[in-house]
């Protein structure tokens, strides 16, 4: 396959790094999948239909209605391309699983459907990388992901987007977080994509938690309409949505909703935006809904520019203006995510470092 290894690394898919399993798709073809640990199952979704009937009967379009939008309708009419990942009861896996979805331009639309199932007490980290094989290809990527987290399980789900300037991307995601389970989503997009629209939803059970972190660096003429919806349905459940958005000329609409529906729900969201250019737009729409008196929901939002005082301060130490600015921007994007394994953090840092180097 003609994709440069650096490009794979820049989307978090490092063939040398330790991983418990792999899955790689180019256009509509599954190029490789493997699984190196007992208790973990990684296979094409189509294969899973044959091996585990419940996947088709209960899980497929179990969280996302087939007729939710044009994309889900399209996806429901074709054979699915994507992974089925399952971790058996009580199995805790330290090394992350790596998945890559590459768009080579063989077809105008790339339709992906993934299903993740963690049984009671299981834990897993998945790093998904998405990119064009070549920056020039144009088309649409539609990625549907349905995630089922059993009681007390824990999933860290990192998504790294490195799409080219002519790509439109429409991920549709839904997660059911079972009692006492934990879901951590960590999203990074730094490349000059044309358009990304996504509004994943987590339904959070009793004493469970869902956290969405996103880092978006919007290049000139990129358009993002992204966010997350957290429905705190179980007693004592909690949710968090944190986003850091930088615009050097692109438009970012950041929608965040937390709905506290029962007793003891705790929710917090934070959206910080940094505008680097006059033609950039950041539109932050934080929304809180409370449906029970005994809940605690809060949000913070800010949009600003790089502080001149901070730039001057760093310059007094001998750093050039651009060096000082990029250090501050890099710092702004450095979200400290509790519970993110070091191995994954290293991948994410590397991706951001690569994206920022020489480009600002």
């Amino acid at each position: 396959m003609d994709i440069a290894p650096e490009r794979l690394v820049s989307m978090g898919y490092d063939s040398c790094a330790a991983s418990c399993g792999r899955f790689m798709v180019l256009d509509r073809d599954i190029l490789e999948f493997s699984c190196g640990i007992s208790g973990l199952h990684v296979m094409p979704l189509k294969t899973a239909f044959e091996v585990y009937p419940h996947v088709r009967e209960n899980l497929l379009f179990g969280l996302i209605p087939k007729d939710k939008n044009d994309f889900t309708k399209m996806a429901s009419r074709v054979d699915p391309v994507g992974y089925y990942v399952r971790v058996e009861k009580g199995v805790k896996i330290a090394d992350p699983m790596q998945a890559a979805f590459l768009f080579g331009g063989a077809h105008q639309d790339q339709l992906i459907h993934n299903i993740i199932e963690l049984e009671e007490g299981a834990s897993l980290d998945i790093v998904n990388g998405c990119a064009n094989t070549h920056a020039g290809t144009s088309g649409r990527h539609i990625g549907i992901t349905e995630t089922y987290l059993g009681k007390g399980s824990s999933l860290g789900y990192t998504m790294i987007h490195n799409w080219g300037p002519d790509m439109e991307v429409y991920p549709v995601g839904a997660v059911q977080v079972g009692e006492g389970a934990r879901y951590l989503s960590n999203y990074v997009s730094t490349s000059p994509v044309k358009r990304i629209e996504t509004y994943p939803k987590a339904t959070v059970g009793p004493h469970a938690s869902a956290r969405y972190y996103s880092i978006i660096y919007a290049r000139q003429s990129s358009y993002f309409d992204t966010g997350a919806f957290v429905a705190l349905e179980g007693e004592g459940s909690s949710g968090e949505i944190i986003s850091r958005v930088v615009s050097e000329g692109g438009t970012v609409i950041s929608r965040q909703t937390i709905s506290g529906e029962t007793k003891g729900c705790i929710g917090h969201m934070e959206c910080s935006g940094l505008l680097l250019a006059e033609n950039g737009v950041i539109h932050s729409i934080p929304e809180l809904r409370g449906k029970h008196p005994d809940i605690d929901l809060s949000h913070e939002a800010s949009i600003g520019r790089i502080s001149d005082e901070e730039v001057s301060y760093l310059m007094t130490r001998g750093l050039g203006k651009e060096e000082a600015r990029s250090l501050i921007i890099r710092g702004f994007l450095d979200v400290k995510i509790a519970g993110l394994p070091d191995r994954v953090k290293v991948i994410v840092d590397e991706v951001i470092e690569q994206a920022m180097s020489g480009k600002i």
């Binding site: 901070e310 301060y313 130490r317 750093l319 203006k321 890099r330 710092g331």
Partner: protein, 256 residues
């Protein structure tokens, strides 16, 4: 020609004249102290030397190593040998102290030694000044300067708000930076130290002191004596005596 020579310096901030004709010089290897009440223009003077935005030089000149630095940008001045410890340094979220230090000086051993000396090793992984107490910020400033090793250190109230234990740590850093353990004739690095309280004088010997009031240099002299006078009579009462006593000396200085 002095190492640093400030001539008839007029500086405006937000349209208001703050410095109204300051003359001052510092020789290589010497430490000058600046005394003056709050709001007299001490920080403005250091800001103008460092080239911070917001301070507009409307008249006069600043010569460093024989060259006017007025047209240099902040970072150029820094690379030319000017360093500054801020009175109120900003906090910079996401930028770790250690990362900045690496950008300032690639000599990892020296960074480590400096951090140890200032008891700051556990702070290098923290965001720059974020959540630092007053005293920690001052230590962080001195650490950054030690790593930078400027030829001219501008120290804006390095001891204010710092407890005694930490003052001695800071002073130790300054002694190294200013080569205080070498004989006077062999010292190269200079400093201007602003002090409101004079406390730092118990730790760092200065060679000369200037008194600034209302944007003017009233005079200069031996640091200990001037400080005693200020302590005894306060700045207000001193105005007169300085004005008379040091006027001659000041002009002589300039002529030299």
């Amino acid at each position: 020609m002095s190492f640093l020579e400030i001539k008839d310096l007029h500086v405006e901030a937000e349209g208001r004249e703050i410095l109204k004709g300051v003359n001052l010089s510092v020789d290589a290897g010497r430490t000058a102290i600046i005394f003056g009440p709050n709001g007299s223009g001490k920080s403005t003077l250091l800001g103008a030397i460092a080239g911070l935005p917001g301070f507009r030089v409307t008249r006069g000149d600043i010569l460093f190593k024989g060259k006017s630095i007025l047209d240099m940008d902040i970072d150029e001045r820094a690379r030319f040998g000017i360093g500054m410890a801020f009175q109120y340094p900003p906090a910079v979220k996401g930028v770790r102290l250690g990362v900045l230090l690496k950008h300032v000086n690639s000599d990892g051993n020296w960074v480590q030694t400096s951090a140890e000396m200032l008891n700051m090793t556990s702070y290098v992984d923290r965001d720059l000044n974020v959540g630092f107490s007053g005293g920690e910020r001052k230590r962080s400033e001195i650490l950054q300067l030690m790593v930078q090793m400027p030829d001219l250190a501008l120290l804006d109230e390095p001891e204010s708000g710092v407890d005694i234990e930490n003052i001695s740590l800071i002073a130790q850093g300054l002694r190294v930076m200013l080569e205080k353990d070498k004989p006077i004739s062999r010292r190269q690095r200079s400093a201007i130290v602003i002090t409101h309280t004079g406390l730092i004088l118990d730790y760092i010997k200065a060679d000369i002191a200037y008194v600034i009031m209302d944007g003017h240099v009233l005079g200069c002299g031996a640091p200990g004596e001037i400080f005693d006078e200020i302590r005894q009579h306060g700045y207000k009462k001193c105005t007169m005596c300085f004005a008379e006593k040091y006027r001659d000396m000041n002009t002589q200085d300039l002529e030299k």
